[in-house]
């Protein structure tokens, strides 16, 4: 597809580094799917949909900086939605077998009903529509969000309306003082049927390690970030080792048991295809 023209209708300042751009288009996308956002004449980058017509952008470099400078009435090009998105088990569209972990039996009755959403930083963007969908399906939702500092907590207000809600900040300015993994201690993890995770890679790796220690890695769904070029599964820029799966097409959401045996947390590749260690 050619990029669709999307006009900015509203700009919401979420945190000192993150804004949401609302546009005049609406895409029929599953939570966790992404779009390729074209800043004309500059670059095209992947962005999750935080709402059917919105993207939520953290300023990190040239293209995100340019997006942050846009004004209402400006427009961008959008291709998508692409990728697989999260699977909401309660909805019954999965394979039904989330019970790879050891404790599946005990909670068999409510399988898929109790979920934990773990968002680090701008990782909250694809997880907000997931949490909202899960809540509307009547699932029991627990949300953990983390950021460097209180000001950077994303979508606190929206997330807190979706279920039980806790916060962690690295500097202790709000909620649990320390990494989000520390805030997981207060929960009986085996009581959850599914975990949805997105955030900085090393945070995702630590969360997955904790889940693995509890035998729960197969119940985790993580949204991965790799360098995208084509975004449609042809060029091969975004493939991960050792499966050779394409993050843009077979992902960006992968199950924890696949990722535990992958390059996750070890390395990613830059635009040339060269490995960059974390």
């Amino acid at each position: 597809m050619r990029p669709v023209n999307a006009e900015i209708t509203e700009i919401i300042r979420e945190t000192p580094t993150i804004i949401t751009l609302r546009t005049d288009i609406e895409l029929d996308a599953a939570p966790g799917q992404f779009v390729m956002v074209w800043v004309r004449g500059l670059d095209e980058i992947p962005m999750a949909l935080s709402h059917p017509g919105s993207i939520t952008v953290q300023r990190v470099g040239e293209a995100t900086e340019a997006l942050s400078r846009l004004e209402v009435g400006d427009s961008i090009g959008i291709r998508g939605p692409f990728g697989n998105g999260f699977e909401v088990k309660g909805e019954g569209r999965g394979d039904g077998d989330g019970g790879g972990g050891g404790n599946g039996e005990e909670y068999g009755d409510e399988k898929g009903n109790k979920i934990m959403v773990i968002a680090g930083g701008v990782g909250g963007a694809p997880l907000l529509p997931l949490a909202q969908q899960a809540q509307s399906l009547g699932l029991d939702v627990t949300i953990l969000i983390g950021a460097r500092t209180a000001d950077e907590l994303l979508f606190e207000e929206y997330f807190s309306k979706c279920g039980a809600f806790s916060v962690a900040t690295d500097d202790g300015s709000k909620g649990h003082h320390g990494f989000i993994t520390g805030a997981m201690d207060q929960f009986n993890l085996a009581g959850f049927d599914q975990f949805y995770i997105c955030g900085p890679e090393l945070m995702m790796k630590s969360v997955l390690d904790i889940l693995q220690a509890a035998g729960l890695e197969a119940m985790a769904q993580l949204s991965l970030h790799r360098y995208f070029k084509c975004g449609i599964g042809v060029c091969g820029a975004c493939t991960i080792d050792p499966s050779g799966l394409r993050v843009c097409r077979d992902g960006p959401v992968f199950s924890g048991d696949l990722l535990i045996k992958s390059e996750l947390g070890k390395y990613h590749r830059d635009a040339t295809g060269k490995k960059i260690m974390f």
Binding site: N5, E44, I45, S75, G233, V234, G236, P242, R246, T272
Partner: protein
């Protein structure tokens, strides 16, 4: 397989089937190439590799259009020094791995081939910009193509294939140059120069402004190039451009292809290789043909 045997000998390489992964498509890493081997490709060609790391053109780098695909990746690659490891991982896939290499002059091709030792064959991508002078590519200059091919042949004992660009007046002239240089096969075609413009803004969509067309739109162009090359050359022609089904593969073979490559069609289905081989095999069986019967059949019909 109970169906017809599709194994071929191509420039001295043994392939279990003649459906090959094309250069630059899912060929950036060893494990991705291995995955395509697992999906049934008879051989795999790597992303084109150069002498220095290259990020490629800015995004957008690829678009799906109604008629095909437009891309301007800009030959992103980590350089042969870094790609060596990927090549050896790719070899675990159990099918021949052809290293696609690009450079601006004969010495550069030699350096990269030496640096990527261990490939089953080398495919020379002569479609990159000329070292001296802008706007032309190496592959449009028959003298340079011959020199590069000869240099590559001197550098390695394994087969050397030369991949041709259709963006020339007469592709046969370039094919003949490659053949004189000692090429073991020619591969045709690379993408067809093209462009798309965003009507909302007037901006060319690709980061590089223009790029190359692939997919269904270019198949008739490729069929004609393969037809002409088969007629003129004594070395095998490998057909590529818009192949997405066994019928497309049969057509390309009838034009003269000894084997075919599949690129853009992985968009629809990465299992495309098995799909084409099983269709091809059933077709040959139903018609009591072997692959040799169909390669160049169109020429024999015309001569009759």
């Amino acid at each position: 397989m109970s169906s017809t045997d599709l194994s071929i000998e191509l420039t001295g390489l043994g392939l279990e089937n003649p459906i090959i992964l094309a250069a630059g498509v899912l060929g950036t890493t060893g494990t991705s190439l291995k995955r395509m081997a697992g999906e049934g490709a008879g051989a795999v060609v790597t992303k084109s590799i150069g002498s220095e790391p290259k990020e490629g053109h800015p995004n957008p780098t690829m678009l799906k259009l109604d008629c095909g695909f437009l891309n301007a990746m800009g030959l992103p690659n980590p350089s042969y020094k870094d790609f060596r490891k990927e090549l050896s991982i790719a070899s675990e896939g159990g099918v021949p791995v052809i290293a696609s290499v690009f450079g601006a002059h004969p010495d550069e091709f030699q350096e990269i081939i030496l640096g990527l030792e261990g490939a089953s064959a080398y495919e020379l991508n002569v479609s990159c910009p000329h070292a001296s002078g802008y706007g032309t590519v190496v592959g449009t200059d028959p003298v340079l193509v011959e020199e590069i091919t000869r240099a590559a042949k001197r550098t390695t004992d394994v087969p050397v294939w030369v991949k041709l660009t259709p963006n020339v007046t007469d592709i046969v002239e370039i094919g003949e140059a490659a053949s004189r240089g000692g090429a073991d096969a020619v591969v045709a075609i690379n993408t067809v120069r093209s462009m798309a413009i965003d009507i909302h803004s007037g901006y060319p969509i690709l980061g590089n402004l223009y790029g190359g067309l692939s997919g269904p739109a270019v198949r008739p162009v490729a069929v004609k190039c393969v037809y002409d090359l088969y007629k003129a050359l004594d070395i095998p022609v490998i057909g590529v451009g818009g192949i997405g089904s066994w019928q497309d593969a049969v057509e390309m073979m009838m034009a003269g292809a000894s084997a075919v490559q599949v690129g853009s069609a992985v968009y629809d289905n990465v299992n495309i290789f098995s799909e084409i081989t099983s269709g091809l095999s059933a077709y040959l069986k139903a018609n009591d043909h072997c692959l040799d019967d169909i390669t160049g059949l169109a020429h024999r019909k015309v001569e009759q």
